[in-house]
Amino acid sequence: MHATALESIHVALGARMVPFAGWNMPVQYGGILDEARTVRGKAGLFDLGHMGRVRVHGPQAEAFLQRVQTNDAAAIPPGRIRYAMILNEQGLTQDDILVYRNPRNDGFFVVINAGNTERDLGILRTIAKGFDVVVEDCTRSLGMIAIQGPLSQQITQRLCTADLASVKYYGWCETEVCGVPMTLSRTGYTGEDGFEVYVPSGLETKVWQAFFDAGAADGLQPIGLGARDTLRHEAGMPLYGHEIDETTNPLEAGLDWAVKWNHDFVGRAALERMRAAGGTGRTLVGLTTASKRCPRQGYPIAHRGERVGHVCSGNVSPTLDTNIATAYVRSDLATPGTSLEFLVRDKGEPCQVTALPFYQRKR
């Protein structure tokens, strides 16, 4: 099993460690609900060392990325970031990724899911054979630490030289953190304001500690993967292996906004056929339930006794004070307000289709 550079710190903080995508990661340091509330109300720090990080450069880097992923890499300005999908030839989702154009416009940076890193690198390297491009796995040469929550900017500003007020949402920049050159982006997976810092290997502990020295008095806390899942789910963000995987396509997942049709990405032809057919007959929806039972991944969804879908993710939402779920359901039942049931051991519990995202911060 892989370990991030911060593993011993998590253990010393009393974290419960679990295997996640081949990495030994902290699932929680205290209570999951409390950690989620800390991020919504103050700020939390996350070790994201497990996520895949890849540099893409060379004369045909842009053309290569146009082939690899669904968004329009040519339209990304220097220092900006786009969400995108990698599809297979069947138009089904291999991964969801972030594509960064370097601030100096000298290449790209791609962040991929930990559990898909090996497969994605294989896909990238195969496609790269047709282009004058270098694909460089820097998962090990860079750490990744995120700060998320409304106090993120004021805490991070104490550590870095860049004026963070000028870094836009889904933008990134070169700066010095703790006196060392590195990059950071205004991105995250929680629905809150925040930054992700790409830390040269060997400095992770120093940067992690510097964040606490700067932010402890503001209530900064370490946050595990459990609360991270709760937060991303409240914010309506998909998780690979739940809302999206090799059996789903971006249209039914409501991610068509990340697909631009002006370039020839892998899976385009198949996806066009699905779009022309008016979809696949199912749609990803949000569900809320007043039931004490929480819908869980795989539970069937029923409507008037007929099975019409299944649950992708379920969570107790501390922010909404209800149980939330995402589910694929028959498209004619996807209208917010529709009453459905989720089945727990064949017993129906009521739930209601709810517009996604469940939570949106005030800006």
Partner: protein, 125 residues
């Protein structure tokens, strides 16, 4: 310190048998590992439970876990206030957070004493 008048399953249920009636609950170790409990489903009085089979479910923020019966027999009492007071499980897992009482017909052959259970928890981490 766990009470020494209880026997345990490695799946973290405990039982205390007095006059042929087993009081059943889950251990402090189970409660601390589940964390953020949100739901508890217990059988009704009069139901029968069977060694090795699930007699209920406990749900935390992230997972649902089955509760396994350490004995077989008829449920003669249920702690019906517990599902609405799940914090009792962290406060007094061997006391007021008992779950059901069962008139014992058979005991699980896998029950271990407190010292062996302590060692099991230590090994499990």
């Amino acid at each position: 310190m766990r009470p020494t008048d209880c026997k345990f399953l490695k799946s973290h249920e405990w039982c205390r048998i007095e006059n042929g009636i087993a009081t059943i609950g889950i251990s402090d170790h189970a409660v601390s590992h589940l964390s953020d409990l949100v739901f508890l489903d217990l059988p009704a009085k009069g139901a029968s439970v069977t060694v090795g089979e699930s007699f209920g479910e406990i749900e935390s923020v992230k997972a649902v876990s089955s509760l396994y019966a350490p004995v077989s027999g008829e449920v003669v009492d249920v702690n019906s206030k517990l599902p609405d007071n799940l914090e009792w499980l962290a406060q007094e897992p061997f006391g007021k957070a008992w779950m059901i009482k069962v008139r014992v017909t058979t005991k699980s052959p896998d029950l271990i004493d407190t010292a062996a259970y302590d060692a099991h928890c230590k090994a499990e981490g």
